[in-house]
Symmetry: C2
Subunit: 363 residues, 2 copies
């Protein structure tokens, strides 16, 4: 395909893009099976329209860290503790995606037997979009949960120290004819990348996004980039910022403390550069048939989701979405027409291919 | 005790208050064991400083509904489905608190055996604070989860129909020397009661709280009371309102759809008056020792929570709290000095005692 979508994007064939991502990772020493998983997760993110977590990160988050020795391409992954309903895995400072996918598979197996199971992974690295792992539950008529702590960007309510990652939480729940409900959200109001975008455009930030380094709210992106992100709900407590802060801390506990991994101020700051194995993940799943017949449940899910989608719109809006719907529609569209890749990212992938002496066969 | 705290509050002895609440419920036909549970949950709320969910609701939420035949004081509670890791209960349109407490007890028993378990209750009524049930996991070295859908007050992002309750989510995680982490929050930015308080004081609302009946954001409490609450994150998507909407819908699915109870537009509006058995609850628990030695985990929880509490404060703030800390300190203080009861609530309880020909022996 590779037609030009706009002047800023080119369209790539999904299979080509995955094959190329996997070939890059294999070239820097990642096992083929692991590389294929990373490629699947990254391209799934681009398919869903979440460019920030897709192939754009291949070089900076993964390849460069392997080449600089910060991330082990052939990690020793160990099961630290296992029961019929739980699993704790040490990722051996490897890529996050393969260990996350395999841990979620084992959790789904366990939940298939026991009805409900949870798992955690420590000593890992960035694993892409949390929603990918939660969605693995859908085909099995289970409800899936996935989360991860991250590099620190955010401050707690009433505080100015940077102590919390963007700490996403994801839940996936199947429906019948409707797309599944897939809620996947950062527990900060916005990601740090949004401050950078506003900085480049010299646009003032929205209230509730960030504080300066002294702990005052700021709308200046350059000042905010030296400060901290605010939790969902914004500054102080009037907009519910303490709730977002609580959710961010919940994620750090479920990932970092429960796994015996890094948590709180032991997590890296962005300025620290890559820190081996400081990231932890959390997963869960439980069976719908422990409560109801899954077919009845999914028929009711259709009713529930349609009830929201078909309700009255605010002025100036012609659609109400449910969580995961936009990403589902993006996936359908991008599967048909090609995966949009920003020209700068496209150029970066070509440059990476040349550096690694690999063909760039993406159309 | 019953000393005067301020001109607005009197202090009640905890045991007297519980005994009185239980005696009122027994007088209107509730079994003694059930009445004792309701009394414990309501007074726990007042002890924690959450007046809105405490004895202030005894008459309007519970007694009046029993007396008007809207709520069954002697419900037939049935187990609809049960597996080693799950439980679905029909509350028979009884009080929410007894069925919720007993369901969570059974979930904790199940999780003690299997490692992880979930439960749901349908055809129920308001159950007080969600945190009470999540906290039942703490003594067992488990992580507890509780949620409930509610009467409808809120609109989805880009919408103006009232489709979502305040739908609280609660998580309780034990620590060692520090108070437990207890996150218990409504997924709307504020409760409807806050609009009423601002209306009485003729104060403008904060941004992000409410819309008018046409779907425009409003700061006028009187206009907002005819409109709808906004989800956590506020109006539109810039402040993350779609995340709060997603959380609210998640709760409605886990409670209403998973239980086969009422959900979405089938939930009552406040103006509908009490609707029998339209409320559903959701519970979960899993064992910490499936991941780590609980003593080590709890020691790390102390480190995690202290790391936040001892971090640098914003200008004008001398404390950073972690979720549940304020409520824990309120409980200690109120256990020592007495439970604060607003004079209007106190008068209401006395009036109720007179109506029911019961002694009001609260000091």
């Amino acid at each position: 395909m590779a037609e030009v979508l706009t002047s800023e994007y080119r369209l790539a064939r999904e299979s080509d893009l995955k094959r190329f991502v996997a070939s890059v990772l294999e070239r820097v020493g990642v096992a083929a099976a692991d590389a294929a998983i990373v490629a699947d997760v990254l391209v799934a993110s681009d398919l869903r329209g979440i460019e920030s977590h897709g192939v754009a990160r291949l070089e900076s988050y993964y390849v460069s860290r392997i080449r600089s020795g910060k991330l082990d391409p052939t990690p020793v992954v160990t099961t630290v503790r296992e029961t019929p309903a739980s699993l704790l895995v040490d990722a051996g400072n490897g890529l996050g995606h393969p260990v996350a996918k395999r841990t979620m598979e084992r959790i789904l197996e366990k939940a298939g037997t026991t009805g409900a199971a949870f798992g955690a992974v420590r000593n890992s690295n960035h694993y892409g979009i949390a929603g990918y792992y939660a969605m693995m539950a859908l085909d099995r008529d289970m409800i899936g949960i996935a989360s991860t702590n991250t590099v620190r960007y955010g401050a707690p309510t009433f505080g100015r120290d940077i102590l919390l990652g963007t700490n996403p939480l994801a839940f996936a729940i199947p429906a019948q004819s409707e797309p599944a409900f897939v809620l996947d959200f950062a527990t900060t109001t916005v990601p740090r990348g949004k401050l950078e975008v506003y900085g480049r455009k010299e646009k003032p930030l929205n209230a509730g996004w960030a504080i300066d380094e002294n702990g005052h709210e700021t709308l200046d992106p350059k000042v905010a980039l030296k400060g901290a992100l605010l939790p969902l709900g914004g500054f102080g407590v009037e907009g519910g910022g303490h709730k977002g802060y609580g959710l961010g801390l919940l994620v750090d506990i479920l990932c970092g403390v429960l796994s015996g991994g890094a948590f709180g101020a032991d997590l890296p700051l962005p300025t620290d550069g890559p820190q081996p194995g400081k990231i932890s993940h959390f997963f869960g799943a439980f069976k719908i048939d422990g409560f109801r017949d899954p077919a009845q449940f999914k028929a009711d899910m259709d009713t529930e989701l349609r009830g929201f989608k078909e309700s009255a719109k605010s002025p100036g809006h012609d659609r109400i979405y449910v969580a995961g719907e936009i990403e589902y529609e993006n996936t359908l569209k991008n599967r048909e027409h090609g995966v949009p890749v920003h020209v700068k990212v496209w150029d970066g992938l070509q440059k990476l291919a040349a550096e690694l002496d690999l063909p760039f066969e993406v159309e």
